[in-house]
């Protein structure tokens, strides 16, 4: 079942056409990688999908619903979550508060203006669970701004996992992580992590080809705003134009 459908998206500003005729879909539980050279427009695709940018043309559908013009927060409540390439945290709040905010974001709770945030025990337990999964439990009460770069990236990731999304958009999830942490993340993505037992669909932007070829079931190659190839890892590896344009540029890899 197609959980995310993207149809003929075009986005540009000024004189620059960043994305043209972008069409693809993601099935429930599918892991799809979006690769391409720098400046290809990968983050822009995520921005359009998450609602931070409005495309000039095209449609985005989540679970069959047209969300092209829906505001960002509304998409989150439908099950779309996203992480950022540069860690986007709440610096002056504690690590625990960061996660609690992520958990409360899509849940209507009673007495939410008067009851202490730590009194919602199930949320705190879930937050601790999430923190434990990325080994940040010991930093629970530290302010986010005092975390090391790697710790911030890990916090960044669980903030997007926290809402138990149906579709997860990840922007360079392993940037800044050690190879050990990267493989740990890859394992996390491969496990079925959804609370309801459903697999999370993941669309991730990456330069880290190890991650891509370990996790991705399908790969989209973006080049100057156009998808020049779509397919399984084997197909992409064998694709001549992709090799020339993208893989060929990183010969050392």
């Amino acid at each position: 079942m197609e959980i995310l459908e993207v149809e003929k998206i075009a986005f540009g500003y000024g004189g620059l056409q960043v994305l043209q005729d972008i069409s693809f879909s993601v099935k429930q539980g599918e892991k799809v990688a979006l690769i391409g050279p720098n400046g290809a427009g990968k983050t822009t695709v995520l921005n359009v999908l998450s609602g931070l940018l409005t495309p000039q043309f095209g449609k985005v559908r989540l679970l069959g619903r047209d969300i092209t013009n829906r505001p960002t927060h509304s998409r989150a409540s439908l099950g779309l979550a996203r992480s950022f390439q540069v860690s986007s945290l709440f610096p002056q709040l504690s690590v625990l508060s960061n996660v609690l905010l992520a958990l409360h974001g899509i849940q209507r709770t009673s007495r939410q203006m008067i009851r202490s945030i730590t009194a919602y025990k199930s949320f705190v337990e879930r937050a601790d669970e999430l923190l434990g999964s990325v080994d940040l439990l010991s930093k629970r009460d530290t302010l986010a701004r005092f975390l090391s770069h790697g710790e911030q990236r890990r916090l960044e990731l669980i903030l997007s996992f926290a809402s138990s999304p149906k579709v997860l958009l990840l922007d360079e999830p392993t940037a800044g992580l050690s190879s050990q942490e990267s493989s740990a993340l890859a394992q996390m993505l491969l496990k079925p992590a959804h609370q309801n037992g459903e697999d999370v669909a993941v669309l991730f932007v990456a330069h880290d080809l190890d991650l891509v070829f370990t996790v991705a079931e399908r790969i989209l190659v973006l080049y100057y705003g156009i998808i020049i190839a779509q397919g399984t890892p084997e197909e992409i590896r064998g694709n001549q134009s992709v090799r020339e344009i993208y893989l060929g540029e990183t010969q050392s890899a």
């Binding site: 505001p71 927060h73 979550a81 709440f90 508060s97 008067i114 202490s116 945030i117």
Partner: protein, 327 residues
Amino acid sequence: MPGRARMSGRKQLAYFAPLPVILLFLVAAPWFLDTPIISLITKVLCFGLLAMSVDIAFGYTGLWTFGHAAIFGVAAYTCAILLKGADITNFWLLALIGIVMAGIVSAIFAAVAARSSGLYFLLITFALGQLVYSVAVQWKSVTHGNDGLWGMPYPHIGFSLSSETYYYFALIVVVLCAIVLYRFTRSPFGYSLMGIRENEIRARTMGYDTRLRKIGGFVISGLFAGLAGILYLYFNGGIAPENVGMSASGMATIMVIIGGTGTLWGAFLGSAIVLLLQYYISLLTPNRWPIFLGAIFIASVFFARGGVFPWLVSLWRKVIRYGDTGS
């Protein structure tokens, strides 16, 4: 509370000890302090509440408001006008209408300014605040212009208050408000406002309707500012445009900054510091007080970074740790 280092139960108790002590002091004060000082403390309570409301908008939500005195003033003027013009004398009714007016005005301010942030939010609230001020000055038939509206009796809350008992009334109201606001800041909604302050885009991707919440936070702040205005109206016996304009709004913001932005209690402390300074310096040089006020503004920027309250808190923590022989 999330973000606070864990302390032993006994230490936690000691940590919060100053609060009841201060409360006790305030309750007992009329017995050993002179009337003018009690009067000053009442003023501190009223403006402390205003400063706390400003902190909600400014410190917690990150909305640079420079028009809160206008909201404060709208509530006060509404009550005064209704009392004198429409002869409504029921205190509770007046207060309710006043607070509702404050809420409406805050909603207008916020709706107009919500799309902007930082500097532009400040300029908009500044302009709107001045608009309200202009109305207060110009609409002479209703507001008596620069003279203001005077002759407010003490409220009748089942029994008539007097200048002695009004102090306790104000104290109780402000303490209750402080408790409510404190709980609000630790609630999920309160935290979401801080999240919006810290990183609005992230908050949006988490599912928060940030525009609505900014308006909501601002309105809640405005309701308490209105209540502060009503408290002040009855304390002062009247209200005048000078309590409504940029000068008053600036003062409220400065109180928050001196005390400590985003700490809630700091706002109170800031109010006490500014008003105490004003009282004593005005005794010495009544005409040159603005120079000192200006100097306080400037000094607070360069010397009170972070605010006096956090500084006192860290001092107190050191005291507790020093006195603890265990861990």
